[in-house]
Symmetry: C2
DNA sequence: CCATTACTAGACCATCGATCCGGTCCGCGT
DNA sequence: ACGCGGACCGGATCGATGGTCTAGTAATGG
């Protein structure tokens, strides 16, 4: 028996594209974290074999690079109506928000951010700060380093429920009284905003 | 033939201890980076089987946690003769120096720093800042987040030789003029010190 | 009609983290 | 003097992973 109905319809499943791979990789990472992303599982979700992925992508690292840049793509570029400080603050806030929306991304920040989305935003930051009379690279690194560090630490400490670590510290209150007293949780947003304000204020002083 | 001379001398090789494992793990990580650390290779360097390691250690994660805390152990605690700003700056400088001495450590900072060495230094930081009338946790996180981010970014960008990325950017100068102009390399030490100064200055203002 | 290109898949490989099972050695109590 | 149990060790092995080899198929353009 071999007729039209038995034969598989062409493009019953849409073609596999880089975009679909990246989109699905981000979804998988969101659901199961970095450890949950394997080429096989990704392929399975795309209804294909793991080998097929390697036609579109050279290594798994590629997938991670693409997924990370996709996260940067979610960061809105501030409109031009702000002064440079507001623009920088907007960009850093958006940057942080995007990374926090995809906690896995914070743990793979130790790779060169050379994707188009990341570059476009870095370029914007350089331009904004240079335009304000600052040393572009230096100011840009100060700000973005601070954002990266803040996000990584927040994700790290929020991953396991704070109760465990607080209990751990309470048991050792004799050795670490200050830590045990304050615990490790706190208002991450406020801390971030405060520190960012310090940095911007310091830069303003230099620019003036 | 079986006599004393043929039989292996007891304690010809010293007993395997956690300390030896950690020391060797750090050495291996220094030489070959995070990807070079496998339980088999670590065991081989310790002249034992990989299984043996699992008697002293539950998982490979344990090894990484221990190795990372060993790095924190290299950070000297500032003496008591400074004002709080100098003490904080000393600690952060030492913190950064230790992490940079072991670049692999920067890439595994996304794990809870609950080892005794890390806790001791964090406790010191809390105490110092609280003593200055600051919100201890908030100030401590601001500073250490900044250090972490700075180190991670520096290690990331220094890993591949800058020439490649600069060439990459030069080819795309039309899209990223500011980036292409300045390149990505710069004086990491100066940038770090400047930003740290901004943070400390901002905190001083709040403390006064 | 054919050759090339885009794309897909199954079998397979080396390696990894981790475990099973079976040891060996030493100190301690009896 | 003895042997017994716990500390310590290792070969073989398991399941899973990233990645490759080989062998295709469907469509497209000449």
């Amino acid at each position: 028996m071999d007729n039209v109905w038995v034969r598989p319809r062409k493009d019953a499943k849409p073609r596999l594209t880089l975009d679909r791979i990246v989109t699905e990789a981000v979804a998988l990472l969101d659901e199961e974290g970095v450890a949950g992303l394997t080429m096989r599982r990704l392929a399975e979700r795309l209804d294909t074999g793991s080998t097929t992925l390697y036609w579109h992508v050279r290594t798994k690292e590629d997938v991670l690079d693409l997924a990370l840049d996709a996260v940067f793509g979610e960061v809105p570029l501030p409109g031009g109506h702000h002064d440079w400080q507001a623009a920088a603050r907007d960009l850093m806030d958006g940057w942080r928000a995007a990374l926090l929306r995809h906690p896995w991304s914070a743990t793979i920040l130790d790779r060169p951010l050379m994707g188009p989305n990341a570059l476009e935003r870095t370029e914007f930051l350089y331009r904004t700060l240079s335009g304000a009379g600052l040393d572009g690279p230096q100011a840009a690194y100060s700000l973005s380093n601070y954002v990266m560090g803040s996000v990584i630490m927040q994700v790290t400490w929020q991953r396991r429920d704070r109760l465990d670590t607080d209990a751990f510290l309470r048991e050792r209150a004799a050795s670490y009284p200050a830590l045990a007293e304050h615990g490790l949780g706190h208002d991450w947003d406020a801390t971030f905003a405060t520190g960012l304000g310090y940095l911007l204020r310091g830069m303003t002083h230099d620019a003036g």
